[in-house]
């Protein structure tokens, strides 16, 4: 195989992996603090991407065309809005069901996901059709043989890396992170230590949802297109990645995200004739991995045998 083409595949895989990892970290954060799965996470990503798109269109309409400024505002607006949405979801939908069966939270967030993406489909202008996402970053490219390095891709990857490092520092080096870890470890004890449980949950949901918004914009910028259904696939794969990494384990989630991207890329490389089946392949792998290691590849949780 041509080295350049291989590079292209790797670049593509890294990009996918970054998005999956960002989504998976959200899932794993929510699970950490509240032991719930927020199935609307993928659709929060969709709404985040559309918020970003609307912002960029709005800025264009206002005549603001300074590219770096637009990019920053687009990212910020999407992240801020989705953080707020995430906190809202935690406060009014997830926390009220805290003492109900876990099943109810699962169903509630699934239905919320439907509400979110249906709202986009129905109420965003022409929302039922795929939307072109403007190329806000430099589209310059450098060619090395068959390998074309697009500047925007490189920037996005670096930004994603920065965000992941940021989350790492936040969780491990700040007081807030300490509080989040305390709540994740033992809610009751954390409360006794004077940690405001509700606030920490809201903040965690805000952080996770902000990450989803970031991933959504990344998706838009990289593929130049977004649609109302994009969250479903990213959500399911992100969730699977979080499981593979062991729910609650942030590094596991990141590794899981890249692992999935690698699998998909290898699948596409190995079975070029069956490219139509690539999503079938991805979901098949999700099922198989969960059958193989139901509590994740990395986790070492004690579970009852029955």
């Amino acid at each position: 195989m041509d080295i350049g083409l291989l590079g292209q595949y790797i670049m593509n895989g890294l990009m996918l992996g970054m998005m999956y990892a960002l989504v998976a970290v959200g899932f794993t954060l929510f699970f950490g603090v509240l032991d719930v799965i927020n199935f609307s996470h993928g659709d929060v990503l969709t709404v985040g991407a559309f918020t970003g798109l609307a912002t960029s269109l709005g800025l264009t309409a206002l005549g603001i065309s300074s590219a770096p400024l637009v990019v920053v505002i687009v990212f910020l607006s999407a992240i801020v809005c989705m953080s707020a949405l995430g906190a809202f979801i935690a406060r009014y939908l997830v926390l009220p069901l805290k003492s109900a069966p876990a099943l109810n939270t699962l169903l509630l967030t699934l239905m919320l996901g439907i509400v979110l993406h249906e709202a986009v489909r129905l109420f965003y202008p022409q929302g039922a059709n795929p939307q072109r996402f403007p190329s806000l970053l430099s589209t310059e490219a450098y060619s090395f043989g068959h390998f074309t390095l697009r500047v925007d891709s490189a920037l996005l990857l670096l930004a994603g890396l920065a965000v992941i490092i940021g989350v790492h520092l936040l969780i491990n080096k700040t007081k807030l992170g300490l509080a989040i870890r305390a709540v994740a470890q033992d809610e009751e004890t954390a409360k006794l230590m004077g940690i405001n449980f509700t606030l920490i949950v809201l903040v965690t949901f805000a952080i996770g949802s902000g990450l989803a918004a970031f991933a959504g914009i990344m998706h838009g910028l990289y593929y130049s297109e977004i649609n109302f259904g994009m969250g479903l696939l990213l959500g399911v794969i992100g969730f699977s990645a979080a499981i593979v990494g062991g729910l609650g384990n942030i590094y596991g989630a990141i590794i899981g995200g890249f692992l999935f991207a690698a699998l998909q890329t290898i699948g596409a490389l190995a079975l070029p004739f069956a490219s139509a089946y690539k999503d079938v392949f991805a979901f098949g792998v999700v099922i198989l991995i969960m059958a193989w290691r139901p509590t994740g590849l990395i986790s070492e949780k004690v579970s009852e045998r029955v």
């Binding site: 070492e300 004690v302 009852e304 045998r305 029955v306």
Partner: protein, 260 residues
């Protein structure tokens, strides 16, 4: 050691959770028809011992012999069939189900589980249902006769003491040889506890061939109903004997009170 006189023999049982050794080479014999008290501070491995015996956890090493048969690491279902039934520390009844339903869950091995029997032969099913209903009613009458008239009410509507009674009935309905009671007094007042212990003693009197292991924190209870006590600390047996002997033991005082 006489196999005839011992119903349950545990040898060198060990269970670890990661780095934590919950029970550590624990050996224990339980004589037939006695009530054995299992005491020890929180986290000393009492409930883990129950969970290992009943097959909820697999032990890391050691063996368990019950009634002459090796039951080490059998699945929970097989342990139940061998004749061990239990209650749980935090009552684990199915609150939305009726008293009768809850008791019948414990009666699993006396109910015909065939698909055709259940779906096709309603007449035969009805006969079995009526038979088992009478059995359940007779059993619960020992504990509290008024409950026998409320068999089809949801358990969630009953106070804690009734729930404990129902839970013990659920364990007893299968006529086990060994009954494991995990802190039956938890969450109850002193009077309620006394009442429940009376019930347990009454059952013990009526049923021949019933051995009981009871985990308890209230020393009054232990003193009153047990023949023999085992004290655990850090997953090890530190003392065994009658209540008086155990109470006098220095190590026990140390474990509980921290007296050096």
């Amino acid at each position: 050691m006489n196999a005839e006189s011992h119903l349950l023999v545990a040898r060198e049982l060990t269970k670890r959770f990661g780095g934590l050794v919950a029970i550590d080479a624990l050996s224990l014999e339980v004589r037939r028809n006695e009530i054995l008290g299992l005491i020890g501070p929180n986290g000393s491995g009492k409930t883990t011992f129950f969970n290992v015996i009943t097959g909820i956890y697999a032990s890391d090493s050691g063996e368990t012999v019950f009634d002459g048969n090796d039951i080490s690491n059998l699945p929970a279902q097989a342990v139940y069939r061998a004749g061990i039934a239990r209650t749980f520390q935090r009552s684990r009844l199915s609150l939305p189900l009726s008293i009768f339903d809850n008791i019948m869950v414990g009666n699993h091995m006396h109910l015909d589980q065939g698909l055709w029997f259940n779906l096709g032969r309603r007449g035969a099913f009805k006969r079995q249902f009526e038979e088992q209903f009478e059995r359940a009613r007779e059993l619960i009458k020992i504990f509290d006769p008024p409950l026998a008239d409320r068999m089809f009410e949801a358990v969630g509507g009953f106070p804690m003491i009734d729930r404990r009674r129902i839970e013990i009935c659920r364990a007893l309905i299968s006529q086990p040889k060994l009954l494991l009671l995990d802190e039956p007094s938890a969450g109850m007042t002193h009077e309620e506890t006394t009442q429940l212990m009376n019930d347990i003693l009454e059952v013990k009197e009526r049923v021949t061939d019933l051995t009981v292991i009871i985990i308890e924190h209230e020393m009054g209870v232990i003193e009153r109903i047990t023949n023999d006590c085992v004290v655990l600390n850090f997953g090890r047996k530190i003392c065994q004997g009658s209540y008086q002997e155990v109470a006098a033991d220095m190590q026990v005082q140390e474990a509980y009170l921290g007296i050096k």
